[in-house]
Each structure stands twice: as structure tokens, then as C-alpha cells.
Amino acid sequence: MASEFRARSLGHALRYKGNAGMWTWMLHRVTGLGILAFLIIHVADTAIVVYNPEFYDHTLDIYRSPLFRVAELAIFFAVIFHALNGLRIIVQDFWPLAMAHQRRLAWAAAGITAVAILPIAWLMLAPLFGLRPEPGAERHERRMRERGVVTSETAAGDHGASTTLVTTVSTEGAR
């Protein structure tokens, strides 16, 4: 080890190099470890569906809480960034010209993630405030109609659908 960087403080650590390369590297790591932590829980709890569907439905109620909805959006953000930045790394590995533009490409990966997350955030968070129906409401509606279950979601209209109503309909109707 020719030289080793020893950060004296968090501020010092964050100033080290401190350009796009360092920030995307750091975010790549944090998002990767975050996704892994979520994935362990997600795989373990989804596997329960095979043996105990009732208990699985109970765990879903936890995922429907506002806190978890924000967490799900964070997971979405993490996956998009990790995917784009990972793609950038792969392209740079195999294409020398891309390596010459690595800083610009790093900002591009971060920028595209930031833009892509906006509509997704709207789709996932707006229903919390009653601003739009839950994502997949139409598909759910169609599915219920095919089975002859009448839901009040259609009666409530597109924009006036309150969150509580949607919740009642979907969780009860699906079972």
C-alpha cells in the first residue's frame, strides 16, 4: 500500500476527491447495500405466500402503510440509479472512448435517475393525498368486474376517490 487515505472527520472524508466519480461510487455502494437489505426481507416474506397466504396478506398490510410507500419509492430510486450507474461502469470497462468521458457519463446516470424518478414518485405518492387513484386501479377494476364483484371504485370517479375508500375496496375485494 503506497499511500492510504485516512479521513480525520466525516467532512474531510466527503471532500476527498469529491467529484462525480466519488459521489456515484458512494451512491452505488449505498444503494447496493440498501437494495440487498430490502431484498433479504422481501424474498423471505414473499416465500411465505406459498405456505401461509393469510399471513402473507397480513404482511402486505404493513407494506401499504405510508412509511413503507416512501420506502418503496426509495427502493425504486435505488434500483434505477444502481442500474444506470452499473451500465455506465460496464460500458466504460469495454469502451475506451466512454472512459474518456466518465465524468460526464456519471452526471448523466445521476441526471437520468433524477428525471425518471419524478413521474414514478407522482404515481406512487399522489394516491396518499387523494390526488389520483392507486396505480393499477383500472386493472384491478377490470379483474373484479370479470369475476362479477362490484366495487365502488368506479362510482367514486377518477379524481374524487378518497384513499380510505380505495383501501377498503382493494384489500377486501382482492380476497
Binding site: 500500500m1 455502494r29 447496493g32 447495500l33 437494495i35 440487498l36 431484498l39 433479504i40 424474498v43 423471505a44 414473499t46 416465500a47 411465505i48 405466500v49 406459498v50 405456505y51 397466504p53 393469510e54 402473507y56 396478506d57 402486505l60 407494506y63 401499504r64 410507500r69 418503496e72 427502493i75 425504486f76 434500483v79 434505477i80 442500474a83 452499473g86 451500465l87 460496464i90 470497462d93 414514478i120 404515481l123 406512487m124 394516491p127 392507486e134 396505480p135 393499477g136 386501479a137 386493472r139 384491478h140 380505495v166 383501501t167 382493494s170 384489500t171 382482492a174 380476497r175
Partner: protein, 155 residues
Amino acid sequence: MSTVVDETPGGRGAPKRGGGYERPTAYARPDGVMQKKGKFELYSWVFMRISGLLLIFMALYHLVWWNLLVGVEHLSAELVLERWSNPLWRLFNVALAAFALLHGLNGARYSIEDYIRKPGARKAVKAIVYGIVLLALAWGIFALLTYDFAAASRR
């Protein structure tokens, strides 16, 4: 990552006649113990690229489908079991879980090897992380593979 240490300074192999150097034949662990150079790191690098490329499509499709097209609000055990009644979707889920968890496990290994320098602590943390991730993966794959038996017993 471990530093390449060999007979010559600068992390290179022995000088070749007529210029150049041999490829290094051993690595030193952080505690200075020499280890024979294997191909594991090369294969892990290749695996990260291949699984990463596949996961871009598989994971993003999975997220868009369940979060935006189905919606967590409308999700139910019934819906999941209906989809899994098709063995091809179960196979997709086995592949997704395996690629994602193993890609994540190798990424966690990079981080552990970067930050935990004491050999004992490194071994302990690795054992815990490997154990948890591989247990989750085994449990997930077991559930997907025994789906038919479980479905028969539910009826």
C-alpha cells in the same frame, strides 16, 4: 481489495529477460499472509457484469409490474399464487432472486473487504452476511420449487 505483493517491489512478478514482468503469482492478505493467486476475482468480476446486465431488465420489469401496473394496494396472496401457477414465472422468480441476491452478496463482500481489516472480524462478519443472504435465497427457492405440493395441500 488486497494488494499485489510479489518478489519485486511495485506489485509485479519477476522481471522477464528482455524486458517486462511475469504476472504476479500471489496476493498478500491485509495481515500480510501470502495467498496463492486464483481466478476467483476474475470470475466474480465477470459474474457482476453478466448478472448486472440481466438484472437491469429483470429487476426493473419486476418493479414496474408490481408497483406501477398491479399496485401494492391491489396486491394479494391470491394474485401472487395465480401468477406463480405458471412454472415459467416461478422460474423467472428463481432466476431473479438468485441473480439479485448473489450480485448483492458479492457487492457486500467488496464492502466488507474494503472496510473490515482485522482478519478475525472480517471472517465473522462474512460468515454472518453470507449466512443470512444464502438462507434467504435457499428459503425463497425452496418455496418456489415446492409450490405444487403446497398448492395441493391447500386445496
